[in-house]
Symmetry: C3
Subunit: 362 residues, 3 copies
């Protein structure tokens, strides 16, 4: 704190916290997994380990900086930033938990647009009063988010109300996935030019890389590798612990997996709001649903078909579809409102609670 | 008029009109009720009496001013301002007219956001040309209205498209009611600080209290007491007169009860627009759905469970739900448009007519 | 090009192109029709002929200028500008292709709000960078478009989710048609005062009439008469050629008929965007759904009842309804965003492709 020149150290205080807490969580989760101990504690420790490894992957990706040239770095960052969530989804699909994966994707969108946005408005509003949101850049990201998530939602819409398309669920999902990935490739260079608030940065405060390249790469490889293992443990512990706690599959995916998979990113968004950087917090929070719609969900469709996992399509249950629509329309109106206050934050959190309650009865 | 110092009189001209007309209407309604005369005329006179007593309650509440300290007055005003509508709803629930009450709640939202807003745009636009709406304060109220009404709508959504939540209709409605009431309690102090255009004032033009405290309290007690009686007469006359006129229950609630219960408030909104105070008219009109979602509907859920009335949940029929969504989304877009003209007013009225027609076939 | 005083010639270069290409297309289409040649080529040539005649009608209407006084001209322009689409719809109704007509109406709205708007953003954005949209006039047209299309959509909504209104499909559609036509009559004088970007001009660049009155009237009569013939050929060739190509009725209406009927207008919108006149392009493109909702669809309801054609109501299939809602809500958000860029354009086109794909499986 005080006068220490913290910028010159390789590891910041928060780096060290993540490293140490992550190491402890991974070890605990491993012990619980390999010795078949209490599934609920195994689940909690592996959730914590996944969240901390996700944070570490995010930080390593950030510390890579622009060192491979802007184009390659952008692709790398986008691909790697979603890696932990992708691992969880793949292991869950392998375990046949298709509904959990779908609920978790929608849950990530909901928790970002309602819970985390609500908390950032609440914290930012209580600390700094009414805050501005209305930069044209923020609105552009909202518009793209809206368009992408609606694209993602159309196969479900067609499935539930257009009986003729229903039998073609798989091929339709594949076509939509390809269209969304093409859109993502078009978006990449634009988001790079626009700077880190684009799709590539998930919430770090922009600064020069502190880590030497070898360290960033080493930590990235280790954290990603561990994330793959721990995701497996997490998914393995998921089912027995949800049964022990009598929680339905859809609620587990929508609330628990979605929050665990984005925990640290979410904290960053709220911290930015607490520091009064409401615009930046907003674009970080809005950016996550954009990534889910343009990268994560389409990748899962294609990966599940290539590797013969449980069939994963873009047909979400009607209530997931409705919740997704409500969340994006509310987020769009709020961003066009141009201002936020703590009461709007409280109302967003209230809507998150109400929606989550609706899913409680699986 | 002319040079008379009208401000120094205790009763303004409009006060006197309401008092005298109210007294006549109450007497007529009472005669028709106790002597079992023509149900249609009994219904019309009691509707007029309810509307005038509602206006008198509103005026007495206003004349209380800040005399109990801002906090207590705010709670008092919000609670008492909705009293006549609450009485009607309670008597209707007691008579088992659950569908009428639900239709009347949604009908109040529709008539405010489509019919009254449309009339205020039409009158204001024809008299004063294109009018501005886009103050950030008006937009904040719209955003809160949108969030509250969507919260109110989620139980219906869950009921109709998420079969797993359907059997838990009552407990889910209770949870949502509590969440919305908490949101209202959080909103109260903010709305008081923000002044009378917040939730507490339903449409009076701000001015100093003209009535001495004893008069305001006396009239409030008398008007509220009479409102309770007349609401009973109104509800009793409702069913036979709707049968005589061959009007379906849902249409009666949606159009007739909703307009009778808000008649005077609505006139105030349109009068403000006619005077060119478009911003103020807009926030008065938008404020009413906010109160229905945050106070009236949640109170009815809790009251019906405590006092063992006909079970009242927040599950509205699908068409009521759809109409509610359309109305709030249109109102939100119109407020973000930032301007209004008479043609938008005519279009809003057209949509109100079309929706009301859809309910004609009960 | 260069220094030629092209403005003084009676026929501009593009006039001549349309005249010559139109003549050739009409002759080819006639030959294919009367000699029962290949239905697919008959369909393609008649589609081209319809598109070119529609362009010629539009141009003649424009060249009429204000010569009958502003009031009469407005009515004339609105009535005649929609003539070719009306002819196609009437012949298709006569042939019993009700579903094709409904799909074509919704398809026109979709192709304008998603495909053409997307292309205009893409072309305008790539050529001129981020472009402004946010004039209050453009927003007013968007608001009116939103209100009109929602009015048009309510009979479908009532039909699919409000069983009590379903048996009254025909009378409800008639009432809605009359309400929308009244709204149009109210709108006419306002749109004329507001200038050509109102409902009367479908996309011409404003300039003084170049054609003498007799020429404009003659070409108008000839082009309209031919359009009636060619529409008949087009509809006759539609069914066998769709069967030959194995394309479903709904897809044919939604994509092929909709694009053929608006081809030239659409090109105008995109050309305006290419020239950097993004505001003007936007209001031209948004204006077309307004005309469909306020004039074309209501006229078809009334004409089909008067002339005893196949019964045409405003009840669209649920997926058409959903696509219509998505398109107008997206267009409204994009216009309130206030800016457009090529990426938003690409995303709009992506959504058009995804929706069209959903209808591929008829």
């Amino acid at each position: 704190m005080a006068t220490t020149p913290a910028q010159q150290k390789i590891f910041s205080k928060s780096d060290l916290t993540i490293l140490i807490a992550g190491a402890i969580a991974v070890i605990c989760a491993g012990i619980f997994y390999y010795f078949y101990l209490n599934p609920v504690i195994a689940f909690i420790t592996s959730a914590a380990a996944v969240a901390l490894l996700a944070a570490l992957v995010g930080r390593s990706v950030e510390q890579l900086g622009d060192r491979f040239g802007p184009g390659a770095t952008g692709v790398l960052q986008s691909a790697l930033g979603n890696l932990p969530e992708l691992f969880i989804a793949i292991f869950a699909l392998k375990a046949g938990l298709t509904e959990v994966v779908k609920a978790a994707l929608v849950g990530s969108i909901l928790s970002n647009l309602l819970l985390v946005l609500g908390l950032s408005f609440l914290v930012g509003g209580l600390k700094h009063g009414t805050q501005k949101l209305g930069s044209s850049r923020a609105r552009t990201i909202v518009t793209l988010m809206l368009l992408s998530v609606i694209g993602l939602a159309i196969p479900s819409l067609a499935h539930w109300i257009h009986s003729a398309a229903a039998p073609h669920e798989e091929s339709f999902s594949l076509i939509v996935a390809i269209v969304l990935l093409i859109l993502f490739l078009l978006y990449l260079p634009a988001s790079l030019k626009r700077g880190k608030a684009g799709i590539t940065s998930e919430g770090g405060i922009e600064e020069k890389p502190r880590w030497p390249l070898w360290l960033a790469v080493t930590l990235l490889v280790i954290a990603s590798g561990l994330a793959a293992f721990v995701s497996d443990w997490f998914v393995t512990a998921l089912e027995p612990s949800m049964k022990a706690l009598q929680i339905s599959d859809e609620f587990a995916g929508l609330v628990i997996v979605a929050i665990a998979g984005n925990a640290i990113e979410n904290v960053v968004g709220i911290q930015l709001a607490a520091k009064g950087r409401s615009e930046y917090a907003f674009s970080v929070i809005i950016n996550s649903p954009l990534q889910i719609a343009l990268v994560l969900a389409p990748s899962l469709v294609i990966i599940s078909q290539i590797f013969g996992l449980a069939i994963f399509t873009l047909v979400f249950s009607p209530m997931l579809l409705a919740a997704m629509f409500l969340a994006i329309v509310l987020a769009a109106f709020i961003s066009f409102d141009g201002e936020s206050n703590w009461l709007e934050g409280a109302a967003l959190i209230a809507i998150y609670i109400i929606i989550a309650t609706a899913f409680w009865w699986g």
